[in-house]
Symmetry: D3
Subunit: 137 residues, 6 copies
């Protein structure tokens, strides 16, 4: 059984944010981003998909203990109970849209996981939809 | 058919908050509230239950158009894309726990709805559970 | 262990309907009911709650085989893949609002179940909310 | 950050239908389609996935205001609170199975969206499953 | 604000079981319980509802840290990754129906919680429904 | 309309299991698999995706009656209300991780379905995630 298998794990975190670029005036921020320029918040749900072959000893594609530690260190410590604008530098030049946030997360996880194992990052911001980054560069 | 019927409508809104009382020192806020003293955010889901008899003309217990306007005016305008601490005065003396937030919402809706019609307010803050205020005083 | 226990079972069915009273003119139906006067449809989800003490032999409050037969005969045969207006007479004088439909279902199930066992009927019409009839007369 | 991002938005609508081809006899329609030849209805949930690069000004792959207007005009106006057989001509020669309905929707949206941006249409008809049209021709 | 508030927390656990009474013959167990006499398993979801007034210092009806410890000790340690028949003595004389299991859990939690605080135990065994024990004796 | 369409159907079943290899000592099983070496259970949710073109007569990619019979015979009869270790031979040499179970199911379904029609098997074991086998060899 040499087939590739994809394993998806989900975590949730709670974050404060607004669409607001320091380089723009208050008027321009409000004109461009509307109500999203106001401070608001989300329970984000992140689905991380990794691919590979099950380890012959454990039967698992990914060591869950190590994966949980990685997600705790790379995602929860950075973003849970944080303000994306004030507490991180990822959104100084781009607003924290779900598109940008998913790309930031995909970049962090791609660097932290074994090469070739990250298949997809899916980010749910609310009940209306979600954003995918597939096989990030 | 004179039975009482209960109608539940759900709305969602996106809010920023922290457990932080201005009357306490930073050290005491952090000691008492832990990580919830950090700025974070939620997609709250509110379920409003009203009871009554269906109107003989429309067949509905509650006029949905009026109910949506009431929820827009009383809840969405006050709390959606807002910071509960900075943008409202409800949490100057009590922290915005789901218990307190549900009581605040129940008080607002009870005052805005016809007497005796508010049966229950249920507030979901995340996937772990929810808070009910039933038949508020 | 003489406590009362409540058991809830859910079923789904697929129904066509419009809010339309034969006694009213087309203009009056459209004025009163708006877009709901157009033929549309729902996957209804019905939750039936019965209460009682577990049977000492089976450990169940309600015999599931009998309950499924009852729901098949009383609800599915009447309403699944049916047009509520054309194929039933329940909505000749009242429109098929979720309030009225829940009352009709509660009346049918109360008559079909042992006296005192029906605790609640909950009817979901879509993702926005639901209607309860509790302890129907 | 030049990666492709996929954005999925979901809408729901309420529709009446039956599997019934005018070119067939009543007996043949019933023989071929069974209970689905009876008038019934669904709350359809449509997930539309578009792909692209985030716009450098807004940070979004797709302008949400324009996308909502497009979905309102192309999907909601055509199918919400409609009878698929009587009120549209899409199902005169093929029955409104979820497969055919998803293909019809994919064709409409592909023509209305910028070339190359439609990645997938997913249509949920009930809780048992769903149908995908991926990268439609 | 002296209103009563109800707080619900959910946990999930993974359990093996069969409906099988040692006092009955194999034939009688199979006759009475059918396929449920075979060893099977569930992810149970337990919702615990407690009621009270928010503590003036923390703003919470129940100390979440203590509640989590209580649920870990009383429920998870007893039932998670356990066989209800072989690893516990609760089902020696009654089968582990959801009704009996909910009554067992309600008894355990009522004894462990402050008097009068347990409002309801709801136990989901699968997607078809759930069982409630309300205000247990 | 010659586009490929993918149809997904979901089923649920209830299974008992433990991670336990007969070739290993009890100590080694417990060391390697931790609490999963204890007998536990799951409600598995299986999503089967097949692809093809809708049949011109029925409008369906797959005959649902035949598909249900196939799933009943190949999956439900083998795994529902069964103990994966004691009642099947699939896990004598590999533990029943979701990865291995999904590969076993994909192999069974690939052999039972028309060549080229099986697109994906997705297996949910609990609320934390799921495993995919895509286009199995």
């Amino acid at each position: 059984m040499g087939s590739q298998v994809r394993v998806t794990r989900a975590i949730e975190f709670s974050t404060s944010l607004r669409y607001w670029l320091p380089s723009l005036s208050e008027a321009e921020n409000r004109r461009r981003f509307g109500r999203k320029a106001d401070q608001h918040g989300h329970n984000y749900r992140l689905e991380l998909t990794v691919q590979g072959q099950p380890d012959p000893t454990t039967g698992m594609v990914v060591n869950l203990t190590e994966l949980k530690e990685l997600l705790e260190r790379e995602i929860m410590d950075r973003f849970d109970h944080r303000d994306l604008n004030a507490d991180t530098s990822y959104f100084d030049e781009v607003p924290p849209t779900p598109e940008h946030f998913a790309l930031v997360i995909a970049g962090i996880l791609k660097a932290a996981l074994p090469a070739g194992s990250l298949e997809r990052v899916r980010l749910h911001q609310d009940a209306d939809g979600f954003v995918d980054v597939v096989d990030p560069e």
